[in-house]
């Protein structure tokens, strides 16, 4: 009973807003810390890859951003499901706050993929199954953001966006496997960006970088959700109180 009560309390914007404000510096600091150690290992300590030369170091960004772009979409779909099932206000705002960061991660994944592909494949872009799926994921992010931006009523935006996210998340495996099948039929490139035989130190560098991106995404999403809350709850008592207190 008490747990239930607490859960709802944290889900209410009046409690979540200051909580998020307190959490952001910690996540940001963790992100910087993981990032610095990850970069130290990845860029300074890790030896070269005998097949790909120093160009392989791009994977220290490419792989974490690809993971995050997929993971963030899943998290958004999770919030969408919660929002549609329990009609909570926070969920839709969380999904919206995550979307731009997810889209940026997808963009960075494509950008670094292209810069990796030029020296390795000899071309900026290959219609490789993973790069193509990543591109489609970016389209899905853009579609979601465009839909949410086009709806004025925030409650409808949350719910319509939520349905689109759930439809998208059901479609992602179908899209991925169809693209993969299409790719094998057309005998696309078979070089992988990630090597299964990675040295342990490289793996550590990559994991730390992935953690850094994760913490970064949480910090930015929390910061963005605060702005969303403020705008939506502008007439709520807690916002008015907070604004006038800051005034004094």
């Amino acid at each position: 009973m008490i747990d239930r009560f607490n859960l709802y309390r944290f889900a209410s914007p009046a409690t979540f807003y200051p909580l998020a404000g307190k959490l952001i510096p910690w996540f940001a600091a963790a992100g910087v810390l993981f990032g610095l150690v990850g970069l130290y290992i990845g860029m300074l300590v890790a030896p070269t890859d005998f097949q790909q030369g120093e160009g392989y170091r791009i994977i220290f960004i490419h792989v974490p951003t690809s993971w995050m772009s997929m993971f963030i979409y899943l998290v958004m779909a999770f919030w969408a499901a919660i929002g549609l099932a329990f009609n909570t206000r926070l969920s839709g705002m969380m999904a919206q706050a995550l979307a731009p960061t997810g889209a940026l991660m997808a963009f960075l994944s494509l950008w670094t993929g292209a810069l990796w592909g030029k020296p390795m494949w000899g071309t900026w872009w290959v219609w490789d199954a993973r790069l193509t799926s990543e591109l489609i994921l970016l389209f899905l992010y853009i579609g979601y953001m465009a839909l949410v931006a086009a709806i004025d009523d925030p409650r409808r935006a949350d719910k319509a966006g939520g349905i689109l996210l759930l439809v998208g998340v059901v479609n992602i495996p179908i899209i991925y496997f169809s693209v993969k099948w299409w790719n094998t039929l057309h005998q696309g490139s078979s070089v992988n960006l990630t090597k299964s035989s990675m040295a342990e130190i490289m793996l550590w560098g990559m994991l730390l970088m992935a953690l850094a991106f994760w913490m970064y995404a949480i910090a930015v999403a929390l910061a963005r959700v605060r702005t969303l809350m403020l705008e939506r709850e502008r007439n709520a008592e807690w916002v008015r109180k907070m604004l006038s207190e800051e005034n004094a």
Binding site: I136, A146, I151, I163, W181
Partner: protein
Amino acid sequence: MLKIIFSVIARDLQLAMRRQADIVSALFFFVIVVSLFPLGIGPETDLLRKLAPGVLWVAALLATMLSLPRLFADDHRDGTLEQLALSPYPLGLIVTGKTIAHWLVSGLPLALIAPILGVQFDLAADALWVLTLTILIGTPALSGIGAIGAALTLGLRGGGVLLSLLVLPLYIPVLIFGAGAVEATVSGLGGDGHLSLLAAMTTAAIGFAPWASAAALKIALE
């Protein structure tokens, strides 16, 4: 259950017959887009034969999208949609009927005219047959998925462009297997695998998509 679906189909077809110009323009859009490609690429038959499946399918995706914004908009404007939502029948069934009606006036004509356009691209008889078949069994999935987009963007400004932004990425698997089946036939590999997957996707889309559309419609009507 079937009765509701059939009565919705009959009603929508009747309405569509009053606006035959819309059906014909979407069809001509398809014809013109497909005919533009040889003009842009050149008349080499080998090249055209290779491009035909992709060109015809992409044009079919765009042509079915043209009529999507109207799918719910007219009923929304005159209040019919709210009546339908308040009716004792599940909205998902009504949307199923509307989706099938949409396919009958947008997808089916494309399938009928596709072989003629395929001839322009020098496709062989077996490839023409598979092309017709893929468009026939692939376009219902397009109507089903498209209906979700139409429901989500109902009554929004810039709805048409937004709709294409939402729906086109979701059309990709249908495009891959539809064009893939034709291409596999052209290259002599046989498109049976593609065709069964396409049929599976259409079945899934017709089964599930209307319920997602119905949920989206309820949100739009709130």
